[in-house]
């Protein structure tokens, strides 16, 4: 079977976001595969180990994203498509989804995995949008995935708004991943060495038959006009005294001063 995983390159979650002139400073950031997408890669690898087949990674990003793609290949994915065209830059979820949908049209697949959300802009849109654009069914926020014997359908446990539901979907489908789906593996040394020889093809707008004017910053429906640090919190107070005294005083303060209780 063929599984495609959408992986986005995002700043390491350790990163302190620095801002200059209303934009995030990207120099010096170390980049990772968005954590939810790692669950996708892991799930795809496990499926292939069970059923045989191929795992293809799809990543839209600048030249530097190759490094992140290699990390995915090092984990065991077979090949990758780098959606790499300046025309894609500065887009929003709608344009990013259009590019992915066009790329997927050129691929044969049984299943597409994407993250529930990417941990940079926290949009939580691209996977679902791609499903809709390709007229494929989707199941969102999945924590357990079981394929039927004939691989024509899947049972998925999803976790949404504090509820757990069992969903069923026909395949091919798009499934978005949630924490709990699996424990992503670490790359092996052999994997890292092997990744260097695995194929990464670059596709541009022209390869996908897309009009650059409908993509990236030009085609986006939304415009980010500023990025700023969150409002600073006023300094807090440490409540003195032994545990019992301090606890009593705390409840008093929450009641009388902060008035949240």
């Amino acid at each position: 079977m063929n599984v495609v995983v959408l992986i986005k390159r995002v700043p390491d979650t350790e990163t302190r976001i620095q801002i200059k002139d209303g934009q995030v400073v990207t120099e010096g950031i170390s980049w990772i595969i968005s954590p939810y997408d790692e669950y996708g890669v892991e799930e795809a690898l496990r499926l292939i180990e069970k059923y045989t087949g191929k795992v293809t990674l799809l990543c839209l990003g600048p030249d530097d994203a190759k490094e992140t793609i290699r990390k995915g290949l090092a984990l065991g994915a077979d090949e990758a498509v780098h959606l790499n065209d300046p025309a894609f830059a500065g887009g929003d979820a709608s344009t990013t989804a259009k590019v992915h949908a066009a790329a997927l049209k050129k691929k044969q697949f049984d299943l597409v995995l994407a993250g529930k959300q990417a941990v940079d802009e926290d949009n939580a849109q691209v996977g679902v949008r791609v499903a809709e654009l390709l007229d494929l069914p989707h199941v969102n926020s999945v924590i357990k995935l079981d394929l039927s014997d004939d691989k024509k359908s899947a049972k998925c446990l999803r976790e949404v708004d504090g509820d757990r539901d069992l969903a069923e979907t026909a395949l091919p489908a798009i499934i978005t991943t949630q924490q709990g789906l699996n424990e992503p593996r670490y790359p092996s040394l052999k994997g890292i060495m092997g990744a260097k020889k695995k194929p990464i093809v670059d596709w541009k707008a022209a390869d996908l038959g897309l009009d650059p004017a409908t993509l990236g910053a030009k085609g986006a429906k939304l415009e980010v006009i500023n990025i700023e640090p969150p409002a600073a919190r006023p300094p807090g107070k440490i409540i003195p005294g032994d545990a019992a005294t301090a606890a009593k005083e705390l409840v008093h303060l929450l009641h009388e001063e902060a008035k949240v209780i």
């Binding site: 939580a124 069914p137 926020s141 708004d161 504090g162 709990g180 429906k221 440490i238 301090a246 929450l254």
Partner: protein, 326 residues
């Protein structure tokens, strides 16, 4: 075209979720700047009560799409239903709750109708007739200001930020919208019971979280007790989740839930950047930690340097006293 706003209400077990009332507040405020009517839609099966509640919030009209096929969630059916109402109502802004339901439906309808969607907004302004939204990015490590290049646009609003609108007595007209539900290829077939979580983290007014300092699953018991007293949701750091002391659905942080309750109590949590990302926009933060240098104290409004196992039982008793006086 009038700049109408359409609220997508959300129900659960036959009643409207609180976020639906919060959306009314947002819509009323937006409508002042945009100049248009506020309408609402409720989607589901047997949702007459939801439609009636909604009609009493001051909106000018309620669309009710009531179909047995929507008794459980099927993305294709809900997408078709909402798309139908949007085509009919022709709103300039479609408002959803930034819940799992609202985010998913917003994305699918956005793709179907080729609309932009601004996810998880926490504030907004109408500037010279243009809608300008603010939303946390990088799980709250930064805030983005985003505007649509044109209307209509879809917007999801983070729960718990805006005051819910009250239900009055006068009812707005309710229009039933017929639509033909497609046969879905993906659908929810069963609700799965799990360890009873009484309060959903993302919507909770109060959150009580434990970290590695809780030491074990048993160590979470006093923390859960305290949460129960407060009617709070239980949260956790990733260290506690990874250790298997508590379910991973309780994880707060960049790769867990983002929460912004009125009160967040962090017990035995050091305050790693990924954890702070998920909770630092809480209104009031309390930290209890043995280590006076723990980074959590940098964001806490009130801190106690001490052992959580000494502090939590006293807190529990004191909160009980205060709550019973109310």
């Amino acid at each position: 075209m009038a700049n109408n706003i359409l609220i997508v209400a959300e129900g659960r077990d036959g009643t409207l979720r609180k976020v639906s009332y919060e959306l009314v507040t947002v819509a009323n405020e937006m409508a002042k700047g945009l100049g248009g009517a506020v309408e609402a839609v409720t989607l589901g099966s047997d949702i007459g009560k939801c439609a009636e509640s909604l009609a009493k919030t001051g909106v000018s009209k309620v669309y009710q799409v009531d179909d047995a096929a929507m008794a459980t969630f099927a993305p294709e059916i809900f997408t078709a239903a909402l798309s139908e109402v949007i085509k009919k109502a022709q709103p300039a802004v479609i408002l959803l709750g930034a819940t799992g339901f609202g985010k998913e439906l917003g994305a699918s309808v956005g793709a179907r109708l080729d609309l932009g969607l601004i996810t998880d907004c926490t504030s907004f302004a109408v500037d010279g007739g243009t809608l300008v939204m603010k939303r946390p990015v990088y799980a709250g490590k930064a805030v983005a200001t985003v505007k649509p290049k044109s209307l209509p646009v879809m917007v999801s609003i983070r729960p718990n930020i805006f005051a819910p609108a009250a239900e009055g007595s006068a009812g707005a007209p309710i229009e039933k919208v017929n639509f033909t539900a497609p046969t879905p290829r993906a659908k929810v077939v069963e609700k799965v019971k799990k360890e009873a979580v009484s309060v959903d983290l993302a919507e909770a007014k109060f959150v009580v979280s434990g970290g590695r300092g809780a030491r074990s699953a048993e160590g979470f018991e006093p923390i859960k007790q305290l949460a129960k007293t407060l009617g709070a949701a239980v949260g956790a750091s990733r260290a506690a989740v990874d250790a298997g002391w508590i379910d991973y659905s309780t994880q707060v942080g960049q790769t867990g839930k983002t929460v912004a309750p009125q009160l967040y109590i962090a017990l035995g949590i050091s305050g790693a950047i990924q954890h702070l990302a998920g909770m630092s926009s809480s209104k009031v933060i309390v930290a209890v930690n043995k280590d006076p240098d723990a980074p959590i104290f940098k964001v806490a409004d009130y801190g106690i340097v001490g052992d959580l196992f000494d502090v939590v039982p006293v807190l529990n008793e004191e909160f009980k006293k205060v709550l019973s006086e109310k």
